[in-house]
Point group: C2
Chain length 203, copies 2
């Protein structure tokens, strides 16, 4: 349906919103009309928040996480264990791991995974800087926490090949049955791995 917009300014705003992932034209229209009902100052705050973020955001020199400063809050925190580094794909994964409150080490954000289909090679990721970091700092353990996909596994293997001679301890997060999942509905690869990688029962 080719709708004629009553205003080209409205059409432009709707076009911009509908470029966002998962936002269709109808939703974009609803969001724009919602903002249009707000105070001018609120709309300016909204529009500028994104522009300021884009212009002023920094990436941590150490772990490449998003940061307001040269070195991010996590890397700068003396209470964190600097000898353990968790390798993740993106900053959402950092937030997911932080959300568990189970990890007190530092991170290394790759910025993606190796994916020849999408034209992403090792050179497009922060892998070289990880190797430098392991060579320079006193890192004892590197935890690979990438997605359990072909691309994640490929990246894991690439990093393993690069780090195997450094003597650093290399671990990978456990794959298995999700808490609350029923055995009969678990896919056989996951179930198989969870049996092979069984651990001693304690409580």
């Amino acid at each position: 349906m080719n709708q004629q917009y009553p205003s080209t300014l409205l059409e432009k705003a709707v076009n911009e919103f509908s470029k966002l992932p998962g936002i269709g034209r109808k939703t974009a229209m609803r969001l724009v009309l919602h903002l249009l009902r707000q105070e001018t100052s609120a709309v300016e705050t909204f529009g500028n928040a994104m522009i300021v973020l884009k212009n002023e955001v920094k990436y941590c020199k150490v772990c490449h996480n998003i940061s307001d400063t040269e070195v991010c809050r996590i890397c700068a925190n003396p209470l964190r264990d600097a000898s353990t580094v968790c390798v993740v794909e993106n900053i959402r994964d950092v937030m997911a791991v932080e959300g568990t409150q189970q990890f007190r080490g530092l991170y290394h954000v790759l910025g993606g995974v190796i994916s020849p289909m999408d034209g992403v090679g090792p050179g497009d990721l922060q892998i070289e800087s990880l190797i430098d970091r392991v060579a320079r700092s006193g890192i004892n353990e590197v935890i690979l926490a990438l997605s359990s996909t072909m691309e994640g596994d490929t990246t894991n293997f690439y990093i393993y090949r690069k780090l195997e001679k450094t003597g650093v301890k290399l671990t990978v997060i456990a794959r298995g049955i999700s808490i609350g999942d029923e055995l009969e509905y678990t896919d056989e690869v996951t179930l198989g791995r969870s049996i092979v990688n069984r651990i001693p029962f304690n409580q």
Copy 2:
């Protein structure tokens, strides 16, 4: 889950997005990170589109639709039938009716419906200007195209009482079974009305 954001600028942008209707914090994060991957110019275009719209948008003096000009494209179009006015709640309804390509008259955008529960009275809507418009211009027919809700019906009745003495022809859009709907699943009020308001069969 109280997630610690790695950057306050990021947190601000996510906060702004999550104020939008139907956008939770996870979706907001996804949208912000998507925009962050775009070029600076694209992000500025996005942020400014909404600010420019808010600052420069006009409302048509005649029908109160959103417009780039004093009088909107529809009202200014000499090919449209100025003797028929379709009363709608908001500009999305204008676009919905325009989308059908079945109406060649003009519109009157009320800006809502009478809803005591939400504190919306007749004075908050463009009802007075509708009455003026009917009194001043050569309008033959006013079509009421409001939602089929209690509030819509109340507004219809209020407008009817205001216009009944002017002699203008007052019609309401047909209520009935949606095209493609099965009879047995139609609610009884709709089905009852569709029987009472049956029309001659032609083709």
